[in-house]
Amino acid sequence: MNFFALFGLEASYDIDTTKLAATYKSLAQVTHPDKFSQSGGAEKLMAVQKNAQVNDGYQVLKNPLSRAEHLLSLRGIDMQHETKTLQDPSFLMQQMEWRESLEETSNAADPEAALAALDAELAIQTKLQYSQLADILKADTEQANLDAANRIRKLKFMEKLHREIELKEDALLDD
């Protein structure tokens, strides 16, 4: 399934997300099962399936990481079921440092400030990765695509770490 085509878009990482949202709403209007509540079974089922595709496509395209992954899968690189881990020693070091920092925030004098500082540092790195990813994806060469896949793996880790920081912040607020 090519979600870019479903939404009438060129397959590209750079998309206009405002336009994407507007297209999503138009497509939802014509595919939602509620618009077929008086129709026969075949049409109803069709609507459920089509609308599910539209919903799924919107989620995939809206999020930059899943959009990049989808673009790569259209270029023949499937990362969905991969078991391969990232082979990048310097990033592994960075990962461990971040993990340690996250654990140490619990012992900090002001855990909230420590978490915020870590999150801010992570945000800068994440932003940098995203902008590099955008550049790399402009070219559709084997080397560029493999490089992009590696960056996606890194970003997945960074997004996960960001969520963990948020969870820890939540836990602090609940106390």
Partner: protein, 621 residues
């Protein structure tokens, strides 16, 4: 050009005649039915002028009584008077005994399915709910003067699959054509007309008798998008009553064991006290205990507020979590809508207003607002407003997942995903030569299987023996617009397939529904066969009507002459079979029409998608 059909005079509805559709709020404490009449949505009263139907059913040997009269019986015959049945929907016996250890009912302990013994029979929560729905259907037909085309029934946004399925089963059992299950908070937003004019984020705070819901919605150009939902299926005004009840018991040092009559009586007193405290600063509660001793307890408003503060705080915490899930800052919320009788409690209004920094909307009766919104939606779904642009985009309230090794849950579809949705996930075998795999479908947010709700278990057998990890089992979850799930599992290399409509753990299978239908028919002295025939005939005419209008619009453009003829022939056949009384035959002919028009439906869908896309680019220019 397709020929237009003309009905015999008096045989069919004129094309522009309004169809009768109702919205039903099936509540824990009270239920309501509403309809749009002369462009105005309003709740329908019973013959005595009462709009609220207490969700209470009393069973005796000969009659089943629903509503106010049944409620009167609650004190006299608590064992056979089922109150707050909504709390029991979609739950099994052990869950109910754990959650509500003090219920007066006699549970039939023979199966894990929940059944309650009443004179002459046993009933389950679905049947009790159906009795309430049947009463509302009757009320609606009496006041609207004709049979209903369809109904929208509301459920808490937080209801899981088992609870939604049970509600749907109850509607079917009551003989309603269910157009849609609608989330209560969404219905409330529709009632306030927030779909027209308003653009932005709104919060719906719904504290009913037995459930609490918070929903964060975004409105833009008639599209209602549920951004997140949260809440607690076991928290509501009944808990306020319980707290007052506990307070009375503690103050008067009553023994732990009370007679069932006294318990019910004190709970009623507690409810009256709560209601009075919305106006007064203190109330007197007087009663005589089982030993004949008189008591008098004074409850001040200040004390009451202190007692319920922890519960209110719990709701506010859920509000904050829902805002976070929706990725919305508190000050970005445009409006807060109050729903449910318990939002009359001044402390609740005050604290909710404080959290969101604005005065909540309370102009529509908080008891009626959900039914009114449901009626507006039903009116649209049934086709009375063909130009309505309103569209409700709902989300999955709780994550769906599967059990993996070690009793862990693997999420397949995370909560707050827009529905309908279909997602597939691949799994593999654990042992060499493994030929079967148990698929255990779960719903919930927790990591351990035992902390999630078990929706269904089924086996995928016939996997060819391979080394561990070699088989690829693809499990597909499909959730429809009502939030109901079906699951398919397939081994990819061999195509061994297994499918299940998720029901068995808590819902009912088709044969159970048929059995319950039969027994309810027996009591109502209706003819089962006649009802099924009528249902199929109505379905046939609905299919014909919708297909006819589709053919008129797109038949010539999208179909070859032969295809058009084939569809027309199948439809003619269906209509003539529908004149006779062979139910199975009508069913088959409807299926045939469905099948033969499938390609046409697909082309129409593609056409409207292309139109939507090009309309989009025109707007861009």
């Amino acid at each position: 050009m397709a020929l237009l059909q003309i009905a015999e005079p008096g045989q069919a509805a004129a094309p522009h005649q309004r169809k009768l559709a109702v919205g039903i709020d099936l509540g824990t404490t009270n239920s309501l039915v509403a309809a749009v009449r002369s462009g105005q949505a309003e709740t329908l009263p019973d013959q005595l002028g009462s709009h609220l139907l207490p969700s209470v059913v009393h069973y005796s040997q000969d009659v089943t009584v629903v509503g106010e009269q049944a409620k009167q019986n609650a004190n006299l015959d608590p064992v056979n008077t089922i109150v707050s049945v909504k709390r029991l929907l979609g739950k099994n016996l052990s869950e109910v005994q754990q959650l509500y250890p003090n219920l007066p009912y006699h549970f039939d302990g023979q199966s894990s399915h929940l059944r309650m013994q009443v004179p002459g029979k046993t009933v389950n929560p679905i049947e009790v709910s159906a009795d309430i729905l049947r009463e509302l259907k009757l009320r609606a037909e009496n006041s609207l003067g004709d049979e209903l085309t369809g109904a929208v029934v509301t459920v808490p946004a937080y209801f899981d699959d088992a609870q939604r399925q049970s509600t749907k089963d109850a509607a079917q059992l009551a003989g309603l054509n269910l157009l849609r299950l609608l989330n209560e908070p969404t219905a409330a937003a529709i009632a306030y007309g927030l779909d027209s004019g308003q653009e932005g984020v709104i919060a719906i705070y719904d504290l009913g008798g037995g459930t609490f819901d918070i929903s964060i919605l975004r409105l833009s150009k008639g599209v209602f998008e549920v951004l997140s939902t949260g809440g607690d299926t076991g928290l509501g005004g009944d808990d306020f009553d319980q707290i007052i009840f506990d307070y009375i018991c503690a103050q008067t040092q009553l023994p732990n064991e009370l007679s069932k009559g006294l318990r019910r009586r004190l709970l009623d007193d507690a409810k009256l006290a709560k209601e009075a405290l919305s106006e007064d600063s203190a109330v007197d509660i007087e009663f005589v205990d089982d030993q004949g001793t008189s008591h008098n307890v004074v409850l001040s408003c200040v004390k009451f507020e202190a007692l319920i503060q922890p519960l209110v705080k719990k709701t506010l915490r859920a509000c904050k979590r829902a805002l976070k899930d929706a990725d919305v800052e508190t000050d970005k919320v445009l409006q807060v809508v109050m729903v449910g009788g318990s939002t009359r409690v001044p402390l609740v209004r005050h604290q909710v207003g404080e959290l969101f920094g604005k005065t909540p909307l309370t102009s529509i009766d908080p008891d009626k607002v959900v039914a009114i919104g449901a009626a507006i939606q039903a009116d649209i779904l049934v086709g009375n407003k063909p130009d309505a642009e309103m569209l409700l985009l709902d989300v999955l309230p709780l994550s769906l997942g599967l059990e993996t090794m070690g009793g862990l849950t693997e999420k397949v579809i995370p909560r707050n995903t827009t529905i309908p949705v279909a997602k597939a996930q691949e799994f593999t075998t654990f042992k060499d030569g493994q030929t079967a795999m148990m698929i255990h479908v779960l719903q919930g947010e927790r990591e351990l299987v035992e902390d999630c709700r078990s929706l269904a278990k089924f086996n995928l057998t016939g996997i060819p023996p391979m080394t561990a990890g070699a088989a690829h089992i693809r499990v597909t979850f499909q959730v429809d617009a009502d939030g109901l799930l079906s699951v398919t599992a397939m081994e990819k290399s061999t195509g061994v397939q297994s499918q299940i409509q998720v029901k068995p753990s808590y819902g009912l299978d088709e044969s159970e529904i048929a059995d319950m239908l039969k027994s309810s028919m027996h009591h109502a002295k209706e003819d089962m066969q006649a009802r099924m025939l009528k249902e199929q005939q109505v379905e046939a005419s609905r299919v014909a009507e919708s297909l006819q209008s589709a053919l008129q619009k797109d038949g010539e453009e999208l179909l070859s002459e032969d295809e058009l003829k084939a569809i027309q022939a199948a439809m003619d056949e269906m209509l003539s079979v529908a004149q006779q009384d062979d139910v199975e035959n009508i069913k088959r002919s409807i299926e045939k029409v469905d099948q033969i028009s499938q390609a046409f439906a697909a082309r129409r869908m593609d056409k409207s998608i292309n139109q939507a896309l090009s309309g989009q680019s025109v707007n861009e220019l």
